[in-house]
């Protein structure tokens, strides 16, 4: 027995020590990763749609071989892959710099926690360049952590002229500006459109022409009144639902508000957000929706047209079509499921939903390198620029997406069979211009969750309107101290 324990222990010790030793030089280029790359190239050969280079590049944590190091922090491999693409196009960048990528998933707030600690600690291992998602970008561009972000100007980017050239969507600039200076920009544009069913439109309104439908639903009026009071009852008469669930409208109510949740340190309920309580109640009481929560099985069933009532419209950006509606429509060609039945037009209320922004650290040692990458990702309008590649599905996403630069959008082609051959880009460009970011704070994610729950409790009849608002105020006061 003693021998067994002793040998097991010694193995454990050796393993622990070995594990300790091999990990120390974290800033050296990783060259000892042969063991984990072995089996993968074989696997990737079976995939025809992705180029071999990009998949093998994914095996290493670093891009480039240069002497200068750039630390890149991100929560997915999306931006690291872009860097790989850039180095492929510009090998001299890779000879000068090595980009070390740190990817931490956002689960349980892990990414923000680690990123905050790394930014605060500073030094050689601090991030030179980092990404932030729509849900938490405000914290890094205008909130608590904004002091670590460099303005694009300080990085040496001629930002004003470039923004003008690229015709960057206004809301992405508002989100990424600190005291009027740009510190963060995105590459996607996530302005939203109304994605509606043409067969239901024909049945109820006698037309499926986007221009006509826009008039019928009150597109661009900035109010849901027409949609709820005139369109929804007509749909209901023929047994259709106006939306899948109240949550589909919430995104629009939230982002179209004129004043933020917190004004001068006090909680402020904007009338447009306040109206959401009544909207949720109306939808529930009149049966205008299928009562499906976003991302639930019922919501996906509605995309397939298999809910209790067929749903007339969803509201969302291009990615909602690419990654959600399209795969869930129940078919891959016209006539199957809802494929080919969808059309796109401007929504009654403009808003954006999601997106990723890129920031540079004000203390970075490699301003030029960071600036070069950021400029290529966010402001380059050429056909070798990231946004052109992104919009035209040349980055291996498997989908055409909308990007921040209207100049690039104009050069790109957005026709989709899924939408009956309609060019979806014009509607989304309109959506981008309606969208605004003036009413955002770093607290939004939390406050929104409390508010939508209050609306849900009110709609369900568990609380009356005043009690729901009170519960919401208590939550905000107790958890955020406002």
């Amino acid at each position: 027995m003693k021998k067994v324990i002793a040998s097991v222990l010694s193995v454990a010790m050796v393993a622990a020590i070995a594990a300790g030793c091999t990990t120390q030089p974290t800033d050296a280029p990783v060259s000892t990763t042969g063991d984990n790359g072995e089996t993968d190239p074989v696997e990737t050969e079976t995939s025809a749609d992705e180029t071999e280079e990009t998949t093998t590049e994914k095996q290493t944590a670093t891009y480039g071989t240069g002497a200068e190091h750039i630390n890149l922090w991100s929560f997915t491999n999306e931006i690291p892959n872009m860097v790989g693409q850039y180095i492929k196009q510009n090998p001299e960048f890779g000879e000068k710099y090595t980009v070390d990528c740190t990817i931490i998933a956002t689960d349980g707030g892990a990414y923000q926690q680690a990123l905050d600690a790394a930014l605060v600690a500073g030094g050689d291992t601090a991030p030179d360049m980092y990404a932030a998602e729509a849900a938490f970008i405000l914290k890094y561009s205008q909130g608590d952590m904004a002091k670590f972000a460099s303005t694009y100007k300080d990085l040496g980017i001629d930002v004003d002229a470039k923004i003008k050239d690229a015709d960057i969507a206004g809301y992405t600039i508002e989100v990424g500006s600190r005291d009027g200076e740009v510190v963060a920009l995105g590459y996607q544009a996530t302005g939203c459109a109304m994605i509606y069913s043409s067969s239901i439109a024909l049945d109820v309104f006698g037309t499926d022409d986007p221009a006509e439908i826009e008039k019928i639903v009150g597109a661009g009026t900035g109010s849901w009144d027409t949609y709820l009071n005139e369109v929804a009852p007509k749909l209901k008469e023929k047994g259709y639902a106006a939306v899948s669930g109240a949550g589909d409208i919430w995104n629009a109510c939230e982002k179209s508000a004129d004043t933020p949740w917190i004004v001068n340190g006090e909680l402020n309920i904007d009338p447009k957000r306040d109206a959401y309580l009544d909207i949720a109640k109306t939808l529930k009481d009149n049966g205008y929706s299928n009562d499906a929560a976003g991302w639930s099985e019922a919501w996906f069933a509605d995309m397939k047209g298999e809910g209790p009532q067929k749903v007339f419209a969803f509201f969302g950006p291009a990615w909602l079509i690419n990654y959600t509606l399209y795969p869930n429509c129940g078919g891959t060609q016209a006539g199957e499921g809802t494929y080919g039945d969808w059309r796109v037009c401007a929504p009654p209320v403009g808003f954006f939903w999601g997106g990723t922004w890129v920031l540079g650290n004000k203390d970075t040692d490699n301003k030029e390198g960071v600036a070069e990458l950021i400029e290529w990702i966010t402001l380059d309008t050429s056909e070798t620029g990231l946004q052109y590649l992104w919009a035209n599905d040349l980055m291996g996403n498997g989908a055409k997406d909308t990007v921040a630069s209207a100049t690039v959008m104009a050069k790109s082609n957005g026709t989709l069979d899924f939408c009956g051959g309609q060019d979806i880009f014009p509607a989304f460009i309109a959506g981008n211009s309606y969208a605004s970011a003036k009413a955002m704070t770093q607290y939004d994610e939390t406050i929104n969750r409390y508010w939508t729950d209050a609306a849900n409790q009110y709609a369900e009849g568990n609380l009356d309107r005043d009690a729901a608002v009170d519960a919401f105020k208590t939550n905000v006061a107790d958890n955020l101290s406002f």
Partner: protein, 291 residues
């Protein structure tokens, strides 16, 4: 005479009824138990859309094509099953061994010896056990980061030397099962204290060690948050951390691949459990037992 047989048969009848009840209840619980595993297994054979449309359905239109696709997604997204397996294995095995061995040692120190600070020390262990883990994680991360020891697997291994819960359990167990007479007689035979612990006490604690080893192993294997923020180098990531990365590209979650990842993660645990559970199930006859 006839009275007696009636009594006997009624006892036998009760016996049978009891047995039937035991089987029925046990089988119901077994089915319940298998539910999440079956779902995970079934979902590994589903496409993302199939999972989205119905997570709990057990069928798939193209199970094997989907499995191949999920496997491909996994491999194209920084999920390297073998690296992850190796890292998880190193961390869990080492920390489990340190955990149970040193906890047994500490528990033995508290139970078998009388020393001045003993009561204070065992009180402290119990108090430590009650510290909410949420509290220590933040400070622990900051400390490790300042020391520059992120991406060092030993930071997830060595702290398990101080596992108050396990010490507490071992202490409870030793108090009930350790006969000091055995220790005394070994001393008379001239055995050193450390040798007595290793050769006599540890074998005596086998059921307790096996029990704790399983729990420690499972806990360490499933630990997500700390490894998630500590292990940023992809060659150091554990399986659960890799699964978290499958949530992956924004707005596009590959659910089928996630379930396959979860299933790959849980599989080794089942093996380890099956291996260790024999100590619990068979019941190890104990040497010296205090009655």
């Amino acid at each position: 005479m006839s009275d007696n047989t009636v009594k006997m048969s009624s006892i036998r009848r009760n016996e049978i009824i009891l047995k039937v009840v035991i089987y029925i209840v046990s089988i119901i619980f077994s089915i319940m138990t298998l539910f999440p595993f079956v779902i995970m297994f079934a979902n590994s054979f589903k496409s993302t859309v199939e999972v989205q449309q119905s997570t709990l359905a057990l069928w798939s239109a193209h199970p094997f094509a989907n499995l191949a696709k999920n496997w491909h997604v996994i491999n194209s997204k920084d999920f390297h099953p073998f690296t992850g397996l190796l890292n998880s294995f190193i961390i869990s095995t080492c920390s489990t061994i340190l955990n149970v061995y040193f906890s047994s040692l500490t528990a033995y120190a508290i139970t078998a010896y009388e020393w001045k600070l003993r009561d204070a020390f065992s009180g402290m262990i119990i108090a430590v056990m009650m510290i909410p883990t949420t509290v220590t994680t933040i400070g622990f991360y900051q400390m490790v980061y300042k020391l520059g020891l992120t991406n060092n697997l030993s930071m997830l291994i060595i702290p398990s030397i101080a596992a108050p819960m396990t010490v507490f359990f071992m202490r409870q167990y030793l108090q009930a099962n350790l006969a000091m007479e055995i220790v005394q007689s070994a001393r008379i035979d001239g055995a050193g204290e450390f040798r007595i612990f290793n050769q006599i006490v540890v074998p005596l604690m086998k059921p307790a060690i096996a029990t704790q080893a399983i729990f420690a192993y499972v806990g360490s294997w499933n630990n997500l948050f700390m490894p998630l923020i500590l292990l940023t180098d992809k060659t150091k990531k554990t399986l659960p951390v890799m699964v978290s990365l499958l949530n992956g590209d924004i707005y596009k979650t590959e659910y089928g691949a996630i379930y396959l990842g979860l299933f790959i993660t849980v599989l080794p645990l089942i093996v380890v459990y099956a291996f260790l559970s024999k100590y619990i199930v068979e019941g190890v006859a104990l040497g010296g037992v205090k009655s």
